[in-house]
């Protein structure tokens, strides 16, 4: 059936609630309203207030109570209404949720899923468009994942709920309404694996969540210009799937990381470092990062300038020290085997 990402996530919650009586879903406005993005639509009606309910507006308390529930056998799935609204819960996430298994020598694992709608591109006013993944991915003990489409949305959320460890489940808001065929309850790849979304031999684009469709679009544009771009959807930010990423970059010899978050100290820095350490002898050019600028998330009328789009990605690909010495605006070309036909950068205006 064709489902949007939001509908696929809803389906995943519904199936988890049906199959496991220990699953409870709560957060701000997730009850009768169904969540501000309608991800919990209909769950209170179907499962009752005991299984899906509204919490007071207190993110730290929401995560803190979820920790207590998980200490005593439940599998809570809680929602932070928006990325930046999750910050009050940061201490609970970092000091307790991430560490309880470790602190108790493995005696108390916490199977809690914290769902976080994240990223921009929806015209949200300030504090509604942050990319907070690096904060979480930096924290040992957390599993941090992000689907880029409905099929993964369903499968990854089911897997996250089943995991015996806490999961930060990052939902790219601007993809909530993107639709695709979903074979629910079918599962996609394992939760900790990256997936090659498009094969190509010239350069690897490493993207996740909201930038996966953008990377695929850039790959299509580059293809028209004779450059075969491979697109890897990272899916799991922590742990990182070194095997899939390394195999891809060793094949192509070039890599660009793409994310919405500010570039400085961002998740792309970790990806670039790992790729460089593991693929150094295979690289034809430095690993480049394409991200948002190092600025607070801009207001809606300016966010299109901040978010990395197809052109910024193509520009980065063009800077990857191609043997033919191609520069933006030059005609593509070159013999097979001596480097790809090169993509033409588009105007950013």
């Amino acid at each position: 059936m064709e489902l949007s990402l939001a509908q696929a996530l809803n389906r995943a919650l519904r199936d988890a609630l049906r199959e496991d009586p220990d699953v409870v879903v709560y957060g701000e406005d997730v009850g009768p309203l169904g969540g501000v993005f309608r991800v919990t639509d209909g769950l209170t009606a179907e499962f009752g207030e005991e299984r899906c309910f509204d919490a007071p507006i207190a993110e730290s308390g929401i995560v803190g109570t979820a920790i207590g529930m998980a200490m005593n056998g439940l599998r809570p799935v809680v929602e932070m209404q928006f990325d930046a609204f999750g910050y009050p819960a940061f201490q609970q996430v970092v000091s307790h949720l991430a560490k309880m298994r470790n602190r108790t020598m493995g005696r108390l694992g916490l199977p809690v899923v914290v769902r976080v709608p994240y990223g921009g591109g929806i015209g949200g006013v300030e504090h509604h468009s942050d990319s907070s993944e690096a904060y979480y991915a930096h924290t040992p003990g957390l599993t941090v994942v992000t689907p880029a489409g409905p099929a993964d949305g369903y499968s990854m959320l089911r897997d996250a709920i089943a995991l015996p460890d806490p999961v930060i489940f990052l939902e790219p808001k601007r993809l909530y309404w993107s639709k695709a065929e979903v074979g629910a309850p079918a599962r996609t790849e394992a939760l900790d694996r990256a997936v090659v979304r498009r094969a190509g031999s010239d350069v690897t684009l490493l993207a996740y969540g909201p930038t996966v469709p953008t990377a695929l679009e850039a790959a299509e544009a580059a293809h028209a210009d004779g450059c075969a771009v491979e697109v890897v959807d990272l899916r799991s930010l922590a742990p990182f799937d070194d095997a899939t990423v390394t195999a891809s970059v060793r094949r192509t010899g070039r890599a660009v990381v793409v994310h919405e978050a500010s570039t400085f100290g961002g998740y792309g820095a970790e990806v670039a470092a790992r790729v460089t350490e593991q693929c150094f002898h295979y690289l034809e050019a430095p690993v480049l990062r394409v991200g948002g600028f190092d600025i607070p998330y801009p207001p809606p009328k300016l966010e299109h300038l901040h978010l990395p789009g197809v052109d910024r990605i193509l520009d980065a690909i063009a800077r990857l020290q191609w043997e033919s010495g191609w520069t933006p605006g030059a005609a593509p070309g070159g013999p097979a085997g001596a480097g790809p036909a090169l993509p033409a950068a588009r105007s950013t205006s």
Binding site: V24, E50, A55, P56, A58, S60, G61, V63, G64, T65, A66, I67, G68, M69, A70, M71, N72, G73, L74, P76, P88, Q91, Q92, S95, H96, K99, M100, R101, N102, R103, T104, M105, G106, R107, L108, G109, P140, G141, T143, L163, P164, D165, D192, P239, F240, D242, A243, T246, A247, R250, R251, G253, R274, E277, Q278, C279, F280, H281, Y282
Partner: protein
């Protein structure tokens, strides 16, 4: 305004100006107290646990001064709160202690050496929380309070009769997490009792700089739960008040905040410098309100303990202290590989790689770096030195 819940109005009265007291400073019973006094057996148990607990506490302090513990936050003077609270719990109930509540854990029956694991620096927590129904000792203030609310919520869902006692200090009540936990507890009618040990000092800051509320117990009314003040150096009163609050919680009347008035006689920890912020003579009146002396006087006067019984309690304390000394003298080196064992349920490959790096370091072998050789930890076909061959594939 229309009330938004249906709990008994009587429960929502403001706390009394005078803390509830059952035993006066000279060991006499206080007439007309609003809670019934514990029975003689319970009073004797309270005294025994305080005597043993204080001896443990004194021993731990000495071990900290000798450098055998990394640090020790003393419970000295607060034994009535910690013992009175812990002994009011039923076996299935949960205790949520802080770093200052070692005596409550010993009273709850946790192995004293396991209690000291955190402070010895062996690991972050040494005991099995589920076995003892004691959460880990919490260092970030007030953050464990919401855990108690969630835990009892889960218990109720499963049809279990479980209440929880959260220990917190006066300083912790200023934290946002205290507010959120109180609010969740009251909203969910959670069977949780919050016992604030108001020991007057949060490291160097007096309680008057923490809150403008008339008392900390007054805060309860704003959440829709009762606030009670109790003499925190009167073990009988603390036990009675906590016991009653737990009973109310169990029958669905919701949580209670109890403010126990006590005093931190020792420095914050062995590395604190209290002479910088308070006068020695401030503590003198509190020494005269010693919780052990007071309960001993009562039990003696009423013939519930004799010299032999008191000697037996002291002897039990000595035995426990000797055990703690002996067992801590065996300096067991923690297993280096335990660093990686419990970060996740299964060890991810990158962590396995770092574990191997540490192994090599400990053997004095060359460090391959946190990621190892290029390709280390990767599938066989991606590993090793045949870089050029691989590249052409």
């Amino acid at each position: 305004m229309e009330r938004i819940d249906d709990r008994p109005e009587a429960r929502l009265a403001l706390p009394s100006a005078e803390p509830i007291r059952l035993v006066d400073r000279s060991g006499g019973r206080v007439p007309g107290a609003p809670v019934p006094a514990p029975d003689p057996q319970t009073l004797a148990r309270l005294l025994r646990a305080m005597v043993v607990g204080r001896r443990f506490d004194r021993q731990a302090g000495a071990l900290a001064r000798q450098g055998r513990l990394a640090v020790y936050p003393s419970s000295f003077g607060q034994e009535a709160c910690q013992v009175g609270g812990a002994l009011a719990l039923a076996p299935a109930d949960w205790l949520f202690p802080t770093y200052r509540d070692c005596v409550s854990l010993v009273a709850r029956g946790v192995d004293p050496v396991e209690v000291l694991t955190l402070l010895r620096g062996d690991w972050h927590s040494g005991y099995d929380p589920e076995r003892h129904r004691c959460a880990t000792q919490c260092t970030p203030l007030a953050t464990n309070a919401s855990h108690a609310v969630g835990l009892t919520y889960a218990a109720r869902r499963k049809g279990e009769d479980v209440a929880a006692l959260v220990l917190m200090g006066d300083g912790a009540t200023s934290e946002g997490d205290a507010h959120e936990a109180y609010n969740f507890a009251a909203l969910w009618n959670a069977p949780v009792v919050f016992l604030i040990q108001n020991n007057q000092w949060a490291i160097s800051v007096p309680v008057r700089k923490q809150s403008a509320a008339p008392t900390l117990a007054h805060k309860a009314i704003g959440y829709g739960m009762p606030g009670v003040r109790v003499d925190g150096n009167d073990a009988a009163a603390v036990h009675a008040v906590v016991d009653q609050a737990l009973a109310e919680a169990r029958c669905g009347h919701g949580p209670t905040i109890i403010e126990a008035m006590t005093y931190r006689l020792d420095p914050h920890t062995n590395s604190d410098a209290p002479q910088r912020y308070r006068d020695d003579d401030e503590s003198e009146p509190w020494r005269e309100r010693d919780p052990i002396d007071r309960l001993t006087a009562l039990l003696r006067a009423e013939g519930m303990v004799d010299d032999a019984a008191l000697a037996a309690m002291a002897e039990e304390g000595e035995r426990l202290a000797a055990q703690v000394r002996d067992r801590l003298a065996e300096d067991e080196a923690p297993d280096p590989e335990s660093l990686f064992a419990h970060v996740y349920a299964t060890v991810p490959h990158a962590l396995a790689r770092q574990r191997a790096t540490l192994r090599d370091e400990l053997r004095g072998e060359p460090d391959e770096g946190p990621l190892g050789e290029p390709g280390a930890g990767l599938p066989a076909e991606l590993r090793g030195g045949a870089h050029d061959e691989l590249k052409e594939v």
